[in-house]
Amino acid sequence: MADVKDRLASALLLAAIAAASPTGCSQRMPADSGELVIAFPGAPVSIDPRLSTDAYGTQILQMTHASLIRMDAAGNPLPDLAEGFEARSPTEVVFRLRDGVRFHDGRELTSADVRDTFAWILNPRNRSPHRSTYETIREIETPDSRTVVFRLSEPFAPFLAGMVRGIVPAGTRAAGYSPPIGAGPYRVDDYEQDTAIRLSRFEGYHGGAARIEQVVVKFLPDSNVRFLELKKGSVNLVLNGVEPDLIPAVLENGNLVMEEAPGSNVSYLGFNLRDPFLSDARVRRAIALAIDREAIARTLWKGHADLADSLLAPGFWAHDDKIPPLRYDPAAARRLLEAAGYRDPDGDGPKPRFRLTYKTSQNELRRRIAAVIQEELRQAGIAVEIQSLEWGTFFSDIRKGNFQLYSLTWVGIADPDIYHYAFHSGQTPPEGANRGGYRNPEVDRLVTEGRRETSREKRKKIYGKVQQILSRDLPVFPLWINRNILVRDRRLTGFVITPDEDYASVKEMTFRKGKEAGK
């Protein structure tokens, strides 16, 4: 009983914090008439909040759509469409919508739109990739136009993280690639697939109209083109789109400045634990010890990366700060391989202890990293064949568990429940993301307990244990977390770099008037 009270109290506290947050009553500032041009290193696949799973689509949606709540950098909920929420019980959450919120076409946003958005995702016929996130929703009730009640079939701690989903008007169909109407700070004027999207300020935005009138997002996959456009001034904001080696050259343009902040996307090396070599934890540890992550972070990332020790970034609330560090130690790696029974047949000679295949995408930087890892493992006596595959083939192989070694980046981890998805023994592909086939009854028990527990303190302890176990077993080897690097026009102010590369703060941006403005 005390447990339930504890959970309820913490939920109410969150709601109170949320309601007190200042975003709800932002003052109107003098509007800016300028045009902001942002460049993305790729184009979105979908910009329908009910379907989009890609990073670029999500980032556009942060400017065009509003959700019930938003999350801050540490994973704490902030109000957006909902002025507050209350967990009446671990299986019932009530959201109270703000008064007078409107969609871009002037229609009022009501509880029916919220219900319909989630009902659409839950309808199997619509094949939304987000359906599994909301499967614990048993019922959505709308007692009045401003109240939404979610009833869950069982306590599900990651539920709140799932409420960061753009709301669309009731009855909106999925219309191919054209983006549906939203209630965010910017409306879509024109969308040219794979080329650019043109946005203009939505005067009726519930958080106060944005200050810059026009925003254009260009999709520029070529790093040289982004570099040139930035230098020329035809793009004035790029987040994580300038090669680390090119940053000094881009800043030769005195109108540009760079800002840096910690990131949250963890790159990791995945092992296939069904493999006869990699099933041995000593071999996995030896591989980890043979890779000089510090050298890669220092040279290939030019220091714009921090070493990772878990799939969660250090600033995230559930991150365990007491994970023993794993440092580059090639001698220890060789000793471990010997101990595991893999002798080097000819010492420093060309014959390897054994051979492995490393799969990676065709991204140039990833291939470069693969070449470094290949060389470092060669020195430890492991021959590595790099297979650099087209993205679709690569990702499908990884999802099927068809690999020995691979490297990928976890993007957008909003809740530690990721550990259930990625390491529970029942989550092997195709249902889950336990691609390496990791099995540990203790981890199974902990990650199941973690998703049912609603007290954040208790969850933190549970996932702390999970992270400790995984740092010992190494079913994946966390490599590094890239820092977020913003290159912008020096007149632009107001963009807040968040660990998860959120573009929500574009609405707060402005062109500072000053002597540089005339340039």
Binding site: L246, I296, T299, E364, R367, A371, V372
Partner: protein, 283 residues
């Protein structure tokens, strides 16, 4: 003309063709570089020095270092091996298939000819490089698969050329005479027809090597060529293109190597064509 004098005449004509001589010289150098790469290269082409990545030319590294600090000159020399292997390998494989198919089509004519030539038409309807991309995407990047991908369409040109030659030659009097005295078909083809049909094929093959080298560079540029860390000129351009503005030598050096090699083969091909031109010989 005896065979000896024909060869001498061709050699003399090629020697008079300045472009062909220059081309021949470059081709010889290229072959030497490819064969002697481990002796010529100053460094191990795979040896990395991350901290000195992107360095420009220096006394120890004449052409500079790539992003991973690998010696560019050593990679260039070793890269010649891939280019030579793909150039010669693709042409040999294509020629072998083309020779078989073309001879059969030209010699037997009729239904066999019809069948093979329609097959060739169908294959020609594919854009070459796209088919090669599709094949290497499915089979995975490796030297062998590049050879397969480039030969999959490469043989068609040779087959058509040989067929045309045979159709023309088989009606000539000396062939008719050989046939009349009862020469068996295989011998007729081998001794009387093919040797007389081969000149334009040799010229075409020389250009074919150049085309194969460019195609391999293209596939490697797209990451579909030989697997790393084996250096390939196309892959070197691809690796360097992100640093065009800070280390242009990473792309220009292998780019020049491809250009000079392709030009050399084309000049040599031009010279051979002029030298072997039947019409010229008739005067």
């Amino acid at each position: 003309m005896s065979e000896r004098t024909v060869k001498q005449t061709i050699a003399r004509r090629v020697a008079r063709h300045r472009g062909a001589v220059a081309g021949f010289a470059v081709v010889v150098l290229l072959l030497l570089a490819a064969v002697l790469a481990p002796l010529l290269a100053p460094f191990d082409p795979g040896a990395q020095a991350l901290d000195s990545g992107l360095s420009g030319p220096s006394r120890s590294h004449w052409l500079g270092q790539d992003r991973l600090g690998r010696d560019l000159l050593s990679r260039l020399i070793h890269g010649a091996r891939v280019s030579v292997a793909v150039g010669l390998g693709t042409v040999s494989l294509s020629l072998a298939i083309g020779l078989l198919v073309g001879s059969a089509a030209g010699f037997f004519a009729g239904k066999v000819d019809h069948l093979f030539m329609r097959l060739a038409d169908i294959l020609l309807a594919f854009p070459g490089i796209l088919l090669a991309i599709a094949i290497t995407s499915v089979l995975g990047p490796s030297l062998r698969n590049v050879l397969i991908a480039l030969s999959a369409l490469g043989w068609v040109g040779y087959a058509r050329l040989i067929r045309g030659q045979i159709l023309k030659i088989r009606e000539m009097e000396f062939v008719q005479s050989a046939r009349a005295v009862g020469t068996p078909p295989a011998r007729l083809l081998r001794v009387h027809i093919l040797p007389n049909a081969i000149s334009p094929v040799i010229v075409e093959a020389t250009f074919g090597i150049a085309r194969a080298i460019v195609a391999e560079a293209g596939l490697s540029f797209l990451g579909l060529g030989v697997a790393p860390p084996t250096p390939s000129w196309g892959a070197m351009i691809s690796e360097g293109r992100h640093f065009l503005f800070v280390a242009p030598h990473l792309t220009t050096v292998p780019g020049l190597a491809i250009m000079i090699t392709v030009m050399a083969f084309n000049f040599l091909g031009d010279g051979l064509r002029d030298a072997m031109d039947v019409r010229e010989g008739a005067h």
